[in-house]
């Protein structure tokens, strides 16, 4: 049964999984990064306190994170159909994945930026830096190792979500695992896809940690 069609299917599955994961992580950051930055600077002790903006993004991020991913997947289906033209397949899965990723990433970014020493921000303010300059040159640069570590974790989580989308025909390795392993009792194919998923997470994690370590200037060596 391990003929070339099965192998080709698995290879295509890997490609789809990578496509879904990386695209929705990227789109998740397009939405989540500014959101996380706003959560930090508009907070009560931030550099531009704004209770209204803070509350809105705080609420959005909490609501979206509390909806189980499978439910979210079904909830946004009409929107997915409008944006992509169909509600199944890997491109369609990117829509709910992005919605799930963005608020999660916003919180990750928020926690990374909050690690930056308040004193360093104060020093930049005392030098006459603008809000934008502080965000760009101080917050993002000083927090970069933590941001990369968190991006690694986010990618792993989104990869897991993408596999979950397989249950409703989302494409990728998760889809293969469900269709062959669960519906057709082909446990060996399921095991192989699961092993590949584990290896992918492992790979992302190693690359992320390596980059963040290389970029960290706080250690003495």
């Amino acid at each position: 049964m391990w003929d070339s069609t099965i192998i080709m299917m698995i290879v295509r599955g890997i490609g789809e999984t990578l496509y879904m994961t990386l695209t929705s992580t990227l789109l998740g950051y397009v939405l989540g990064l500014p959101m996380g930055i706003l959560l930090v600077i508009c907070a009560k002790d931030g550099i531009r306190p704004n209770a209204f903006v803070y509350k809105i993004f705080d609420l959005i991020s909490n609501i979206f994170r509390s909806i189980p991913f499978l439910i979210l997947l079904i909830l946004v289906m009409p929107l997915t159909a409008k944006l992509v033209g169909k509600s199944y397949g890997s491109t369609a899965t990117i829509v709910p994945l992005t919605f799930a990723a963005a608020p999660y990433i916003a919180r990750m970014v928020e926690s990374s930026l909050k690690e930056v020493d308040r004193g360093v921000i104060e020093a930049a303010q005392s030098m006459g830096a603008s809000t934008w300059e502080i965000v760009w040159k101080v917050y993002l640069k000083e927090a970069r190792t933590s941001l990369i570590v968190n991006a690694t974790i986010a990618t792993g989580t989104i990869l897991g979500y993408s596999a979950m989308a397989g249950t409703v025909g989302g494409g990728g390795l998760g889809d293969i695992a469900i269709r062959y392993g669960y519906y057709r009792y082909q446990v060996d194919i399921m095991i192989v896809t699961v092993i590949i998923l584990v290896l992918l997470v492992q790979l992302f994690q190693s690359i992320g940690m390596l980059i963040s370590k290389k970029m960290d200037r706080r250690r003495i060596d």
Binding site: D117, A123, M127, K137, V138, E142, R144, R217, R219, I220
Partner: protein, 336 residues
């Protein structure tokens, strides 16, 4: 002459859990160009809030801060940021950018000011030379000692070519030896570039070492201010006395009747004043407390002497010390 910093009736209230805290209570101070002005107080006295009001990192509740003719409260955000470039600040915990090397840290304010990268680097190297760290240009802050980090912070401040330098407990995290060298550097900067320096500290020794003027802050109020030499020789307020006598507690258990506190301010360091007095009066004294230093050949500091039982010899000694141009204050209840 107009003061470079004019503080007028400054008030600051904080809200801490439904409680209103009066952090600064009607403070008025004039600081003139070229002065090294010490602001001293116990922790929680409000001195850190006061210094943050001088560049509006903290907005006062009422009152005015006029820096170099500009009333900070009346400036737009953009004008305020431009004015802040004239007011450098260094901190207790240095606050360097940890992901940038020493050279890039010094370049940072120039980067904000839009100086070309190449010019900024050249200038930064010059400033690093002034603080004695040019060979550390490529190092990262994590690889430096506390004293070196503060030197980088000073070079970074110089890079924005400020008229005023605010120091918020800048030596409190450093050991005495390093503190001395940093204070020496600040003094050089004051003399060489004419930068007015405001020093916030809780240590009298720092004020004594480099300040020309001092203001004593206690519970948000200005207790006393003036020339360091005047206040140190004859403190008037209770708060000033408390700060100046703060090192004396450990001699409480000494037994004796009459003590004097003497202050050295103009005698030569090489004149053995106490030794000569003992030889002249032919009676010993007990030194209960002494803190003196040699400042360019002039003796600075203070001592507390326990005088002999004999009242006449004691009076003789007081006379002798007064003639020797020392400030003498009889402490009746100091010990006993």
């Amino acid at each position: 002459m107009e003061p470079i910093i004019k503080i007028e009736h400054l008030d600051k209230w904080f809200k801490v859990k439904d409680m209103d805290v009066h952090a600064l209570d009607d403070i008025s101070l004039d600081i003139y160009k070229g002065e090294i002005y010490g602001i001293i107080g116990m922790s929680g006295a409000g001195k850190s809030t006061l210094v943050r009001c001088l560049n509006f990192l903290e907005r006062p509740t009422s009152g005015d801060v006029i820096v170099d003719g500009k009333n900070l409260a009346k400036l737009s955000n953009k004008e305020l940021r431009a004015t802040r470039k004239d007011i450098g600040m260094i901190f207790q915990h240095f606050n360097l950018l940890m992901q940038r090397n020493v050279l890039d840290n010094v370049c940072f304010p120039m980067e904000l000011a839009g100086v070309k990268k190449k010019d900024a680097r050249e200038k930064a190297l010059e400033y690093l030379k002034i603080v004695g760290l040019e060979e550390k240009a490529k190092a990262y802050p994590a690889q430096l000692s506390g004293g070196q980090k503060q030197r980088v912070a000073i070079a970074r401040v110089l890079a924005s070519d400020p008229k005023i330098l605010l120091c918020d407990e800048a030596t409190s995290a450093l050991d005495p030896q390093t503190t001395k060298s940093i204070l020496q550097l600040l003094k050089e900067i004051n003399q060489k570039y004419g930068i007015t320096i405001v020093i916030i500290t809780h240590e009298m020794a720092v004020v004594q070492e480099i300040c020309s003027h001092v203001a004593i802050i206690d519970h948000g109020k200005l207790a006393e201010h003036g020339l360091v030499s005047d206040i140190f020789t004859a403190p008037k307020s209770k708060e000033a006395k408390k700060l100046i006598y703060q090192g004396y507690e450990h001699v409480k258990e000494m037994k004796g009747k009459r003590c004097v506190r003497i202050v050295f301010s103009e005698n030569s360091s090489f004149e053995p004043v106490i030794g000569n007095m003992v030889l002249t009066c032919k009676a010993p004294v007990n030194i209960l407390y002494a803190h003196t230093t040699d400042l360019d050949g002039v003796a600075k500091g203070e001592m507390i002497l326990q005088l002999p039982e004999d009242r006449i010899i004691g009076d003789q000694m007081i006379e002798y010390l007064k003639k020797a141009k020392l400030a003498v204050e009889v402490l009746e209840d100091y010990v006993g």
